[in-house]
Symmetry: C2
Subunit: 291 residues, 2 copies
């Protein structure tokens, strides 16, 4: 396969929020003949009845897998690895695989090792999501304005990287870039996983529900992501454990520094930290959304 | 003075973002004959030229202070205490004072001690703000949807508490409540100051500017308040130091617990924390703004 067009046979494994949004995005763009595999019967029925895909099944049918040009895995990381272990032999030479997984180092090399000859896995991370789940909440517009990261290794061909990149374009991501698995996991450990750890800790450090009537935007903003899918995020944390521990340690060290400044009444030290944070935060403004 | 009406002589000391917004709010409601004191000449000129107040000065004129029925202090806390020390004797019996200060225990009792007989200080905290400053950014609509806390002590009369409460109503706050100075400072230490410490530490714990292109909403939400007025916030932190240190310790302890669970691969422990945070966060949804 060299490019995606209306005849490309695309198989989506896992029709949840992200897999469903991929299917809707491909459909809206008129790309691909879509089929899907999902463990939930109702999801499979809905996908067929609404015409989202041409074919769907709760079973992993050998002929569906073997005939796919492109397979998109939208599964939890450990389920993804198990799937390849169990059904990887069904894949035909020339098939390109990609994924949507939020951690990379721990799965990308492993999967690439496990594949039959001629089957190529090129990892990707669509950095979009919502606090709700399932096909019924899927929506191709969640990708607009979001980041799409292609995560190649040395084993990947230019052709597969190009196909993976074109998926990001077809789905309408605002920015498409490339990172190595290690760079990706450092980035995600800091920007996403560390922030979720902080939000969770803020909610669990004391019974704060008596303060709900006084809550302003600051606290609401910092804890929005404390509403969290515990099965998925505990898995993501554990799979990126070493990196996340490092990021947590960096944060604890800095936060303790600030605490120490306060304890010893070091006003100038506190002000210096605040000036640095103000200056750095300016880089992170979205030009069109913040002043 | 028993109630606020169009003839009440209201003096606003400090015409910054909040003082200016109070003036605009009173004006919009047709309440009070307004005068103002501000150390900045341009601010004083603007306030007069735009007709925001009838009288304004950079100097503390004895007759202006003595003739006021209500004085609103919109100053940094330490400047507020100094002001009362220097000019408190100008105040006439029957005058009610209020403020907008973000910390209470350390200033309320001190100010109440310092006042001449017959002058009453009733503290208040309008929990509204923006990341910009000055009269030019003031806007009475910032109070809509926000919380207004009246913070009485045993020394306060019912009449003064009623007047202070009516200010919250006139300015259009969504919710008006009462807390003791100690309850107020615990609430603010947790909901506001701790969250600012976290946001600052996230921005300063490492040079993260190379990650700007990958930043999603989580990180942006958690660091919005890292853009911070270092002079004001360092003062607020130091004035609420004991309480804030306690809140920081609570958070560090909890965050370290989470880190330890991750380090020892305690998936069930992590999931339990996440389920608790998800459950608690549900209390903090704004019914009309979040799903």
């Amino acid at each position: 396969m060299n490019k995606l067009d209306k005849d490309t046979k695309i198989l989506i494994v896992g029709l949840g929020l992200i897999g469903g949004s991929y299917a809707k995005g491909f459909r809206a763009a008129g790309i691909g003949r879509l089929s899907a595999i999902d463990s939930d019967e109702k999801t499979v029925r809905t996908a067929i009845e609404t015409g989202l895909v041409e074919h769907a099944s709760t079973k992993v049918e050998k002929e569906t897998v073997a005939s796919a040009d492109l397979v998109v895995f939208a599964l939890y990381p450990e389920v993804f690895v198990d799937w390849i272990r169990n059904y990887g032999s069904y894949l035909s030479p020339g098939t390109v695989l990609t994924d949507v997984t939020g951690v990379k180092t721990c799965i990308v090399y492993k999967i690439q090792e496990m594949l039959p000859p001629g089957v190529e896995f090129i990892a990707a991370h669509p950095m979009a999501g919502r606090e709700v789940y399932g096909l019924e909440n899927s929506d191709e517009t969640i990708f607009r304005g979001a980041n799409y990261i292609v995560v190649p290794t040395e084993k990947n061909s230019k052709e597969a990287i190009d196909i993976c990149t074109s998926i990001g374009r077809i789905l309408g991501f605002a920015r498409i870039s490339q990172l190595s698995p290690e760079e990706h996991d450092e980035m995600v450990g800091f920007l996403s996983q560390l922030t979720h750890c902080i939000a969770v800790s803020l909610m669990t450090c004391k019974d704060n529900t008596h303060l709900v009537d006084y809550t302003g935007d600051s606290f609401r903003d910092l804890t929005r992501i404390a509403r969290i899918n515990d099965a998925m995020w505990s898995e993501l944390f554990l799979l990126n454990r070493d990196e996340l521990l490092q990021q947590m340690d960096l944060f604890i060290h800095e936060f303790s520094d600030l605490r120490y400044m306060l304890a010893r009444k070091d006003r100038e030290g506190l002000r210096e930290k605040m000036r640095l944070s103000t200056q750095r935060r300016a880089y992170f403004n979205k030009p069109q959304q913040e002043g």
